[in-house]
């Protein structure tokens, strides 16, 4: 008995396979950008409200979302706080003095931006995994 092996629709399948990364990149880009905006919005809400005495770039004003070049098949966004005192607010200070020279001691780390980013990143990973699973992939380890 003759055995015939014939592939049907392979060119179409290969074409779709080649287009898959580009399509996924576009969809994933939306998810990543949305997550970055969510982090930025939550961080702005979590920072203290500026007062009449606030000068320069406030912690809320300093929150920026940047789109990072991650190549043709990658997507990335970065949330930064550009306020000059943002890092000290996040990580704490050792010692500060007033303009009159009075020692005001150290400020503890406030941990605002990092915990928000950690939580939102976990949600984003799950959403990206859902996207891949919709396309037939199996995602493990989340």
């Amino acid at each position: 008995m003759a055995f015939v092996y014939q592939t049907l629709g392979l060119p179409e399948f290969l074409r779709e396979l080649r287009a898959l990364p580009a399509a996924l990149t576009a969809e994933a880009g939306t998810i990543v950008a949305d997550s970055a905006e969510t982090v930025a919005a939550q961080a702005r809400a979590a920072y203290p409200t500026p007062t009449a005495a606030s000068r320069g770039v406030t912690l809320r004003d300093g929150v920026k979302v940047e789109v990072v070049d991650a190549g043709p098949l990658g997507v990335a966004s970065r949330v930064r706080n550009t306020a000059p005192h943002a890092r000290m607010y996040e990580y704490g200070t050792a010692g500060r003095r007033t303009s009159q020279g009075w020692n005001r001691g150290a400020a503890p780390a406030h941990h605002v931006l990092v915990p928000i980013a950690v939580r939102e990143r976990r949600t984003m990973y799950r959403t990206l995994a859902d996207l891949l699973e919709q396309r037939g992939a199996t995602v493990a380890g989340l």
Binding site: M88, G92, G95, T98, N103, G105, A106, A109, V114, V118
Partner: protein, 149 residues
Amino acid sequence: MPDSSAIDAGLVALLQADAQLASLMPDGVYMDIAPPGLQRYVIVSLVIAEDRATFEGRAIEDCLYLVKAVMLTTSGATGIKEAAARIDALLEDRPVVADGYHWMGGYREERVRYVEIDETDSTIRWQHRGGRYRVQMTPTPTSTLTTKG
């Protein structure tokens, strides 16, 4: 369930017990904030703690800590680099002992390094160096399976 603060205490105790770190940062190891007047010390603070639950209760406590050496540099003293390296050696893949918990894992997620300059006197500079360390602990099981017979 065990007291989650035991994890904080275990981490601080691990750092306090190290003679090499103590020689580099002789003013001690503190949670969140150090007493005034110190010049060379280590600060530990909890960034975020997330619990992973199972039907029988909390299974994993996943904690992210900021651990950094802090040093006043007007005196010309050095050691911040060595202190950060020692913190890393003590926490990277090294067990934390805490009452009621088993250690699961520990690793650095990100390096932290910055200089704090006094606004009034720019000769006063504080070096901060360390990292964000993830510590994963699981509560020690308190129930045991028994068989009838």
